[in-house]
Each structure stands twice: as structure tokens, then as C-alpha cells.
């Protein structure tokens, strides 16, 4: 297509609706008001529609399509909150049965259609990706023409252009020098930038707000890119770490570089007597000592020194000691370790007394570390106890044999071999505390349960997220763009004098009330007629 030359001499690109320089309509638009979007510049999507590239471009450059994408995403997102997502099911719940059990047939449909992980589904991702593409193409399609239009705009405008503005007036008068000076002063007082050329004035302010939408869209695009970066290996770590008090564990996700020791885990609850009096009613309502006040892990961070040698104990160097609390993660390198869970009063040590079943005479105590038990215990005077077999998480397996479910001492059971001066060959004795089995009746000796010592376990989440700063930059740019576009307006006032008449026209991209007030102030005392709102006039006539 050819370029279009306007009568004012400016050469416009193909597809231009209003001359970039003087604003004269280049097509034969019959409507009363000019289409001021992008100041009537040529847009690729409105100009070409031949190849597939054109068609795809035109599809995504349409704001209508963009709005549809937003609305569909909005509706889909709402749908995902009808029932809880998979990630928020109670611990141990199986999605394939949970939804049906809880919500009946509708719940099962919800599960079968995959809505239980809606936000991670391919079609939801596709929607978000389409919004991203729409953002890029919409912006490119408009930002270049807008830039051209605002850069090339002339001060002297074609009278037809002025007449077709929403705010327009024509007054048959001559503008005296004093009146013109007054106009200029008042325009400047309202912070307008004033340009003049052969009796024409262009007063403009807030032009930078026109870039707001593009700036915020760039911010969104950066944000979406940041969200995609998570899938790049090495950018993102999300691991769980359970550490028992007194233990040191390798921090997962750090390639064996860091270790964490849990000195102590404490959970505090709100107690009526020790808290401020104003809380008394609320604590009573929830139950005294029932509401959590704090979860704290007193943790020591270690770093491994030297290379990893398998089978060798790592050399650890203490980095720092810190309390990890909710809202106060432990930070090191690019990692953060968060307090997220706990288990209180986990079995740790178990103490037994060796006694004679009949006389109840005691021959001493033994303390068993349930996580790493010693095999032999010498109680002196020839009394010895040996652990022949240890089942930390005891149950009867399918074949009805004693077995262990896990390595965690949830339900410890032992087979002890007791040797005494009068039983040199030893007696075997099966002890399971929760089942209150303490050896057999026929034995002479018995290991009587004395007490347990417990420890707390802290549940931590280890995270590294190198995408955060990209998201932060995207978010910040978005906010700047939105504020720039929403809190300022691009206002323009054209005044054209000569031929015994004064033409005044005004345009703003929003907030017409403010522009009208500006013009009212600027024209006060000049005798020039205030511009009428041609849109309102048209409405009243209709």
C-alpha cells in the first residue's frame, strides 16, 4: 500500500485515518466526532490482513479477544474454588475417593474432569500464555502508531479536525494581545506545555500518561516470563526437612553443602493468665492454651568444608545460629528455610527396669535410644540385657508376623535377651509398650517399663527461588505503568485564531470533567465561548 500525502504536506503511512501532523481526516468519515484512538494513526492490524501472520497478528491484537481471554480465565479461576484444590486436601486424603465421599457425584465429576488441579492444567496454562501473547501483540500494534502520532503532531490543526473534537467552540472575535497573554499565563498556571505557531496554540499536559498502558503491559510480560522461569532447572527448590531436637541433618536441595542442627523446638500457646487482659474473652472462647502463639526452632546452620567423600563423616563449619519462626525464615546463600510444621513429644529414649517377676526386686535400669539403640547393656553384678530384635514401628504384617512399618519409633517393640547369674543361657522376652506386653509370664525376669523421654521434631520447608527478582521487577514496572496511566491524563487544548474567529477544541483520554474545568479557567475573561460537549449535544438531539 502507498503512503498518503496530506494537503498540509505531511506524508502519512498507509492506513492513517487522521493526518499525523494537522489532523485532517484522510478517509471519508461521516461521523460527527473524530476517532481519536491512537490519534488516528495507522495500525498494522487495521491495515494488513492477507497472510497467516497477518491473521494471527490481527486475532491477538484485538482488545476484544484480549477481554474474552481475561473473562474466560476469570470464570475458570472461579470454578477452581468450588471445591478445594488437590493441594489443600487434608493430609492423607486420596483425591480419587475424597471428592466423591465429601461432595457426592458432583465432587466425582469435578475430580474426573481434572478440576482438582485446575491451575496446573494444560488448558489453564494455555489461557495464561494466550493472555501473554495478546499483551505483546496488542502493545506492539498500538505503541508504534501512538509514538508516531504524538511525535509528529503539529500545532496548526486543520479546522475540520478541531470541529470534530468532543469539546469544540467557535467564537467570532479577534483575540487581543493582552487576552492572548492572559490565556498563556493561565495555561501555564495549570501546568500546560504551550506551543505556538502562526496564531495557533497547542497546550498539552500529561502526555507521558499515554505510555502507562504499554509500561504496565511490559511489566506483566516480565512477570509472566518470571513465572515460566521456575521450570528452568536450578532456578527453584522446594524441599521438606524434618529435624529432631539435638540432631543435625543435611539440608535437601543444597547439594549437600549445608547442614542444619535443631537445638530445640518450642511451641507456645496463648494463656489467659499471662497475656494482656483484653485478650481474655477471646482466649476463653477458643479455649485457654489452645491457640498457638509461636513456633520456634533454635537452629544452627553449618556448611560442609571440602569435597564430599562418600562414607566419611562431613567436616562441618558453623555458619550461624538463628531462631526460625513463622514469618522469619532463616536465610543463607539464596536459600530460605521456613518454619511450617512440627511434631511434639516424639518418643526418643525409653527407660526400663529389670526386675524379678515374683519378688519385684530391681537389678538396675537401662536407657534405650529409640533412634539408634545399642545392642548390649551391662547392668552389673552379672545382669546383662541384649536387644535381639528391635521393631520401631511395630505391627503384624500380612503373614501375621511381627514387623515394622517404618523406621520411625511410633510404636516400639523389642525382643530382649536377658542374662543373669542364675540364667546364664538367657531368657528371651518380647516387649511392646503400647500393647502392654512386658515379657511372658513363665520367665523369671521381666523388663518393666519405667518412663519415656520425648523430643520435638521441627518441620521445615527449604526454598530457593531465583525467579523472585524477575517477578519483583515485573511487578514494580506494572505498578509504575498502572499508576502512570491511571493517575494522570493526557489533556490537549487547541486554540486557533485568525479570519475573525477563534476556534477552541479539547481532547483528553479520560476525565473530561477535569478538562472542562481547565478550559473554563483558561478562557475566563477572554470573551471566548466555552467549548460545548458535542457528545452531550448529540445525545440530547437524539
Amino acid at each position: 500500500m502507498k503512503k498518503v500525502k496530506c494537503e498540509c504536506g505531511h506524508v502519512n503511512p498507509a492506513g492513517t485515518i487522521l493526518c499525523e501532523s494537522c489532523g485532517k481526516p484522510l478517509d471519508d468519515q461521516k461521523s460527527l466526532l473524530a476517532d481519536m484512538r491512537y490519534d488516528g494513526s495507522a495500525r498494522r492490524s487495521q491495515t494488513y490482513n492477507k497472510t497467516i501472520v497477518d491473521k494471527v497478528w490481527n486475532f491477538f491484537s484485538s482488545v476484544k479477544v484480549g477481554i474474552w481471554l481475561i473473562v474466560i480465565t476469570l470464570a475458570a479461576s472461579a470454578f477452581g474454588t468450588v471445591f478445594p484444590q488437590e493441594a489443600y486436601l487434608p493430609p492423607g486424603a486420596q483425591p480419587d475417593t475424597y471428592y466423591e465421599q465429601q461432595y457426592g457425584i458432583i465432587g466425582q465429576m469435578y475430580y474426573l474432569l481434572g478440576f482438582h488441579h485446575l491451575y496446573g492444567s494444560w488448558w489453564y496454562m494455555l489461557l495464561i500464555a494466550s493472555i501473554g501473547i495478546s499483551l505483546v501483540i496488542c502493545s506492539l500494534d498500538r505503541v508504534i502508531p501512538l509514538y508516531r502520532a504524538l511525535k509528529n503532531q503539529g500545532v496548526r490543526r486543520n479546522p475540520v479536525f478541531l470541529k470534530r473534537q468532543r469539546l469544540y467552540s467557535r467564537t467570532e472575535t479577534e483575540l487581543s494581545g493582552d487576552a492572548a497573554d492572559g490565556l498563556r499565563t493561565r495555561l501555564k498556571k495549570k501546568h500546560y506545555r504551550v506551543r505556538e505557531q502562526e496564531g495557533s496554540i497547542l497546550a498539552e499536559k500529561g502526555r507521558f500518561s499515554r505510555w502507562g498502558p504499554y509500561v504496565n503491559h511490559i511489566g506483566l510480560i516480565i512477570f509472566l516470563i518470571g513465572a515460566m522461569l521456575r521450570f528452568v532447572p536450578g532456578m527453584y527448590v522446594d524441599e521438606t526437612l524434618w529435624v529432631r531436637e539435638g540432631e543435625t541433618a543435611q539440608i535437601p536441595g543444597t547439594d549437600g553443602k549445608y547442614y542444619l542442627k535443631n537445638n530445640r523446638f518450642t511451641m507456645q500457646t496463648y494463656n489467659k493468665d499471662t497475656e494482656k487482659k483484653v485478650f481474655a474473652d477471646a482466649i476463653d472462647r477458643a479455649g485457654n492454651g489452645k491457640v498457638a502463639k509461636s513456633f520456634t526452632t533454635d537452629a544452627v546452620l553449618y556448611k560442609r568444608e571440602g569435597d564430599i567423600v562418600f562414607g566419611e563423616k562431613p567436616k562441618l563449619k558453623r555458619v550461624k545460629e538463628n531462631n526460625i519462626r513463622v514469618n522469619e525464615p532463616l536465610r543463607f546463600d539464596s536459600y530460605s528455610v521456613y518454619q511450617v510444621d512440627y511434631k511434639e513429644n516424639q518418643l526418643d529414649q525409653m527407660v526400663f527396669q529389670l526386675i524379678d517377676q515374683k519378688t519385684k526386686q530391681s537389678f538396675g535400669k537401662l536407657k534405650i535410644n529409640l533412634l539408634d539403640p545399642d545392642t548390649d547393656y551391662d547392668l552389673g553384678n552379672g545382669y546383662k540385657v541384649q536387644i535381639a530384635s528391635y521393631l520401631p514401628d511395630f505391627y503384624f504384617n500380612k503373614d501375621g508376623e511381627p514387623s515394622t512399618k517404618t523406621k520411625v519409633p511410633n510404636n516400639p517393640a523389642f525382643v530382649f535377651k536377658i542374662t543373669a547369674p542364675d540364667k546364664p543361657k538367657g531368657e528371651k522376652s518380647f516387649v511392646a509398650i503400647q500393647q502392654t506386653v512386658e515379657g511372658s509370664e513363665s520367665n523369671k525376669y521381666k523388663l518393666k517399663f519405667d518412663h519415656v523421654e520425648t523430643k520435638n521434631i521441627t518441620g521445615l520447608t527449604v526454598r530457593k527461588d531465583l525467579t523472585l527478582w524477575v517477578l519483583a521487577v515485573g511487578g514494580a514496572i506494572f505498578m509504575i505503568g498502572v499508576i502512570q496511566g491511571m493517575y494522570w491524563q493526557h489533556r490537549r487544548i487547541w486554540i486557533k485564531t485568525g479570519d475573525h474567529e477563534v476556534l477552541v477544541a479539547g481532547h483528553t483520554n479520560k476525565n473530561w470533567f477535569g478538562l472542562k474545568k481547565d478550559i473554563e479557567f483558561v478562557l475566563s475573561g477572554t470573551g471566548i465561548q466555552e467549548p460545548a460537549d458535542q457528545k452531550e449535544l448529540a445525545k440530547n438531539q437524539a
Binding site: G66, I67, L74, Y119, K276, V326, M479, M486, E536
Partner: protein
């Protein structure tokens, strides 16, 4: 301090209550002398500012009593949302000086404060995840954003009250009347709850919840519907007519039924007395407003509120979520509905700026937007279980 705070809130409520008819006077005064209108408006806005200062006094006193920003439960949040709404109105008033906006906004603020006091007003200590300065940064900004957006709803309703032709019943009059019905129902909910609270009504049930655990539920209203396998413990209390399945909370469903029942009665009574639609009844109040100006106020509210909402409900929310919950975004229902609100107003802005949806279409959108905000406040907190269910 706690008592002082409560008194401040009463004072604010009363002052707003007086300011509503004063703004009403400002609207009606237009036919008389011009200064008359100005004087009524001036009194109205002075009262509003004074009421707002009391409201702020409530906020500060309660903050100092508890040691944390009073935005941590349903009562506190809704009350401060009302405060932000008044603040948003004051800002918009000084740009556009519309007395009718004052009358409607203050009415909504009154409803919000009254609605808030239907929830437990105890000062509660904070659970660990809320113990952060982000509590007030995030919540107050989000509430302010929502409040400014709510102004566009008020402007939208004013627009529709004038624009929709009440002499021709149809879809528009119906939906406008639905808005009025919901407002009436809110009043009914407040009235019913307060009445049974005054009578100190209690009915205790043993019931079995969805995890098949036995627990106790206390009703504050006579039980029309009972909890799952409910067993009434209180003597002389009303026996429920129907028993609910375990996934429902009997107490909440019962409250909803009572509110809608009372709402229908109240609405029906109003219709019988006045023999016209409520929107037709109050439309004379707005007959003098300039539709273009109201439309612009609505749009301006969205354009000011949208960035504030985004900052508070998404940006600050994400920063805090990263600190407290280890991830900035987790598709929790409240997060999703904040995103939906954001997307909705983004659609509003694009429809308005690019597709020319001004005036009536824009007003309806503002109504839907406010419905989403209220859904997020009430329904998501009370019904959809999630990390934000703290009421």
C-alpha cells in the same frame, strides 16, 4: 482502651447516621436558593469528616489496646473496610462534590459497620502466621483499594437509579431491584441477629461433622435446620425441621435461611406500604444528578482504586505470602478471588477504554465488581475453607 475504642465506633456510627439525611437535604435543596444546597453539603461533609475521625479513633485505640492492627478478623476487617469507604468518599467528594454520593456511600458504610458487629467483637491475639508488619500493610491497602472500587458501585447504582426507566418493568428494573433486595436482606440479617442476641437465645447441639468427629455447635437463632446427626441439648429450644448433610455447617445455613426469610418479609412489607419498587421509591432522590458526571465519578473511582487494590491485594499479599507461607502464590481461594477481582476490573478498564462501554454498561459492570468484592469478603471467608478463614 478497648472501651474507648468501642465508644468511638458508636460515635462514628451515630454521626454517619445523622450525615445521611443531611446529604439528603443537600440533594433536595437544589430547587431553592443555591447557597442552601451548599450549606447542607458543607454540614454533611463536615459531619462525615468528624465521623471519620471518630472511626479512626476507634481504629487507633483498638490498635493500642491489642498491640496489633485491628484487621485480623471479620469484625475488625469489615469495620475498617467501612472506614476506608468513608475515606474514599471524602477524597472523591473533594474532586466532584456530589452530595448524593455521600448519602448512598454513608448508608453502605453504616450497613458495613452494623454487619461487622454481628461477628464476635473480642480482641483476639494473633496466630503466628499473622504476626508480621505486613498484616497492616497488606490488609489496610487491600481494604482501601476495595473501598475506592466500591465508590464506583455507589456511583453505578446512582446512575442506574436515574437512568433505568421505572415505568417500564423489565430486566433492568428487575436487577436493580435485586440490588435493593440484597441491601434490605442485609438490614434484615442485622435486625434478626440483634433481636436474638438481645433475647440471649442459645441452642446447643451435639453433632457429627464431615470428618465423622463428634462436636458441639451453638446456634444463636432458633434452629430451622439442624446439623448432621444433631442432638438438641438445650431445653425449651426449638427442634429443627430438617437435618443437614455433614458438609454444611448447620449454624451458618440456619442464619442464611433466617436472614433471607426476614429479608423477604421486610421487603414485602415495604412493597405493601409504598406500593412501588424500592428503586422507584428512592429514584426521586437522584433525579437532579448529572449522568455524565456520575459516570465519570464511577470511572475515576476505578482508575484510582485499581492500582491501590493491585498493590494491596496482590503485590503486598505476594510479598507477605512468600514470608509467611513460603510461597508468593498458592491458589488459596482468597488469592484466587483477589485475582478474579483484578481481572474483572482489568476487563472493565479495557471495555471502557477500547470498546467504549460508558454510562449504563459501565454502571452494571461496577455493580458486578462490587458483588465480586463482597463475595470475596463474605462467602470466601465463611464458606470456602482456606488459609483466610479466620471468622
Amino acid at each position: 482502651m478497648a472501651e474507648l475504642s468501642a465508644n468511638f465506633l458508636y460515635a462514628a456510627f451515630l454521626i454517619y447516621l445523622i450525615a445521611v439525611p443531611v446529604f439528603g437535604g443537600a440533594i433536595r435543596g437544589t430547587k431553592g436558593a443555591k447557597d442552601g444546597k451548599g450549606r447542607w453539603s458543607a454540614i454533611g461533609i463536615t459531619l462525615t469528616i468528624f465521623g471519620f475521625l471518630c472511626h479512626l479513633g476507634y481504629f487507633i485505640a483498638r490498635w493500642s489496646a491489642s498491640g496489633h492492627a485491628p484487621v485480623s478478623n471479620m469484625f475488625e476487617f469489615t469495620t475498617s473496610f467501612g472506614m476506608m469507604l468513608v475515606l474514599a468518599f471524602i477524597i472523591i467528594y473533594f474532586i466532584y462534590r456530589l452530595p448524593s454520593l455521600g448519602m448512598f456511600t454513608l448508608s453502605i458504610a453504616l450497613l458495613l459497620i452494623a454487619y461487622a458487629s454481628m461477628f464476635p467483637t473480642d480482641i483476639t491475639p494473633l496466630i503466628p502466621s499473622l504476626q508480621s508488619n505486613w498484616l497492616y500493610i497488606h490488609v489496610t491497602t487491600a481494604a482501601l483499594g476495595q473501598a475506592i472500587l466500591a465508590i464506583s458501585f455507589v456511583a453505578g447504582v446512582i446512575f442506574l437509579l436515574k437512568h433505568v426507566d421505572q415505568s417500564r418493568p423489565g430486566k433492568k428494573t428487575f436487577w436493580l431491584e435485586v440490588i435493593m433486595f440484597i441491601l434490605v436482606t442485609t438490614v434484615a440479617f442485622i435486625a434478626v441477629t440483634s433481636a436474638f442476641r438481645l433475647a440471649d437465645y442459645k441452642a446447643e447441639f451435639n453433632w457429627v461433622d464431615k470428618k465423622e468427629a463428634k462436636s458441639v455447635m451453638i446456634y444463636d437463632m432458633p434452629a430451622l435446620v439442624g446439623p448432621h446427626e444433631g442432638e438438641l441439648l438445650t431445653e425449651g429450644a426449638m427442634k429443627p425441621l430438617i437435618e443437614l448433610p455433614a458438609i454444611f455447617s448447620g449454624r451458618k445455613v440456619n442464619t442464611v435461611i433466617w436472614s433471607f426469610g426476614a429479608g423477604l418479609v421486610l421487603y414485602g412489607a415495604l412493597r405493601l406500604i409504598f406500593r412501588k419498587r424500592i428503586s422507584a421509591l428512592i429514584s426521586p432522590l437522584v433525579k437532579n444528578v448529572n449522568l455524565d458526571l456520575v459516570d465519570e465519578v464511577g470511572y475515576r473511582a476505578v482508575s484510582i482504586g485499581f492500582p491501590v487494590f493491585t498493590l494491596g491485594a496482590l503485590v503486598f499479599a505476594m510479598i507477605w505470602a512468600q514470608l509467611a507461607w513460603t510461597r508468593f502464590w498458592g491458589w488459596d481461594p482468597k488469592e484466587v478471588w483477589a485475582l478474579i477481582t483484578f481481572l474483572f476490573y482489568a476487563a472493565y478498564l479495557h471495555l471502557r477504554l477500547s470498546r467504549g462501554w460508558h454510562g449504563e454498561k459501565s454502571a452494571w459492570l461496577a455493580v458486578i465488581g462490587f458483588a465480586i468484592i463482597m463475595f470475596n469478603l463474605i462467602f470466601v471467608n465463611l464458606v470456602l475453607a482456606g488459609l483466610h478463614s479466620y471468622a
